[in-house]
Symmetry: C2
Subunit: 306 residues, 2 copies
């Protein structure tokens, strides 16, 4: 799956991923009205609204992008109906041949991490049969519990030719509270980065990059520069571009000299593009066309600095 | 809710929580056979089996225990049907007046943590209405992202009189890989513990303990002793007793002199008691009676050292 991701990035010249994080506030009124008319102002109605919103955006952008990253929290907030919309979104994107990164940030003690890995990447046994639960291609994983919280994801990923991105340095303002603390003179995120590189050796793709990637926020480019060197064979998923403040010129540090090694996420900046002045001319009715234009602009913006 | 938890612990003289972590391997064959006959060897069949298993254990133990802790990964591995069983389990336990700790270990950047908080503790707005998603009383939270990953949980918990337990020192063998690393001469878990105490001041219960608790594994009693002092008003959720190796004599360090301040989890040791030699006489047919006896024995074991 890392090979497929890299192939698609090269072919489209687009190291970008669209974050499908559908807050109800981003969904245009006419989409909500239709969903609520069908299913009521209920959790089911909300789930229908975000699913229709996602579908329109995927239909308008799939040929330009290698991957999508649905943030499961935005679905989980609507309970079981929300998670049905998450599952439907994953299936739809895979049918469009998109690589799906489930942004789930799971991680627990060994046996529990294995259950998460099975549920999101692998198959669970039920009697004599087995089934995929959510079936993403990659997931994000929290490293706080150490190796035995991470290795079950690697085990299942190997069985399935799938992968993961492990949180190293997150994009949020307070990420430094623990991640930047110095241990023997080096920040915690560097120690985590070293571990990610080590774990990555266990599951390498033929493209030269590992199935075990890292998350490093676009909002901390100087740290990105160092982490790029600490983890040379690691694909870096870079959140924080656009709405969170990360700029294209800063992204160059996250890439290797081969022009590969990083994939940049934008969520709000793409899916709620129609709400920005730059794309207001599209109007809420044409929100998906605004998203397409925002993808084209993002692709150009990043290509201009690489 | 922390007041309710403390009241129930005192009344029952039982600082214990039963971990409802139903691996299919724990479910007796006759329960699985019935569920598969009704719903097939499918995800729905598996979900039915774990729900019936949970229900029987709750029916046999609810009058002895203050709280349950369903581990969501064990449900999530069965996809959407599994999460329906999780929701049903939460609702059933609440109807039995049990305090429900959703062991979800979520945590993300601010806006995303808010979505998790809303989905698990609070109400989500849909048009002019609002709904509970999963509606646990407490959740577990991962601190790796720092304050702005935690504060949204505190905000929602305040609105709902609910709470959380934040991972400080986890029970697994490799928890020390990052958590034990020294920062200015003190391990990371102590710095996290200090932050938990600070966050806790924002949401105190009238019982003298905070709604913001901590997770500290029973497998590291010397660290528990120190963390007890670092976080005097923090309730400590203690996993790792029993099957993971934690002993009752070690638990005394997690409690304050008032005999309160900690609640000890056992999962496998209770729900799969019938598989242990000590309870084999019950037989798989009477698995729930075995669980009841295991709860009684655990209560005595812990009472004997306090």
């Amino acid at each position: 799956m890392i090979n497929k991701l890299v192939d698609k990035i090269k072919k489209l010249n687009a190291p970008i991923v669209v974050g499908l994080d559908p807050m109800l506030a981003y969904v245009p009124d006419h989409v909500k009205a239709k969903a609520f008319a069908e299913k009521g102002e209920t959790l089911e109605g909300a789930a229908e609204a975000i699913w229709q919103f996602n579908k329109a955006i995927v239909d308008a952008t799939w040929d330009l992008i290698p991957a999508v990253k649905p943030q499961i929290a935005m679905y989980e907030q609507f309970g079981v109906p929300g998670l049905m919309a998450f599952h439907k979104t994953v299936e739809y994107c895979k049918a469009k041949d998109l690589v799906v990164i489930g942004d789930v940030k799971r991680g627990d003690i060994g046996s529990t991490s294995e259950a998460y890995a099975v549920g999101h990447l692998g198959k669970v046994a039920v009697g004599s049969r087995s089934y995929y639960g959510f079936d993403e291609d990659f997931v994000t994983v929290n490293p706080y519990l150490g190796s035995d919280g991470v290795k079950p994801f690697i085990k299942v990923a190997k069985e399935e030719n799938k992968g993961m991105f492990i949180l190293v340095k997150t994009s949020n303002p307070s990420s430094g509270e623990f991640q930047d603390r110095l241990i023997d003179g080096r920040p915690l995120y560097e120690w985590v980065g070293e571990k990610v590189a080590e774990w990555g050796e266990e599951h390498m793709g033929s493209c030269g990059y590992s199935y075990v990637g890292a998350v490093v926020g676009a909002t901390y480019p100087e740290m990105g520069k160092i982490l790029r060197k600490v983890m040379p064979k690691t694909y870096i998923l870079v959140p924080g571009y656009g709405a969170q403040g990360g700029k294209a010129k800063d992204l160059v540090h996250y890439f290797n000299e081969d022009g590969l090694g990083a994939i940049v996420n934008s969520s709000r900046g793409i899916i709620a593009a129609y709400k920005q002045d730059a794309y207001a001319k599209f109007g809420p009715e044409n929100f998906a066309d605004a998203s397409r234009q925002a993808v084209i602009d993002m692709q150009k913006d990043i290509a201009s600095v690489l």
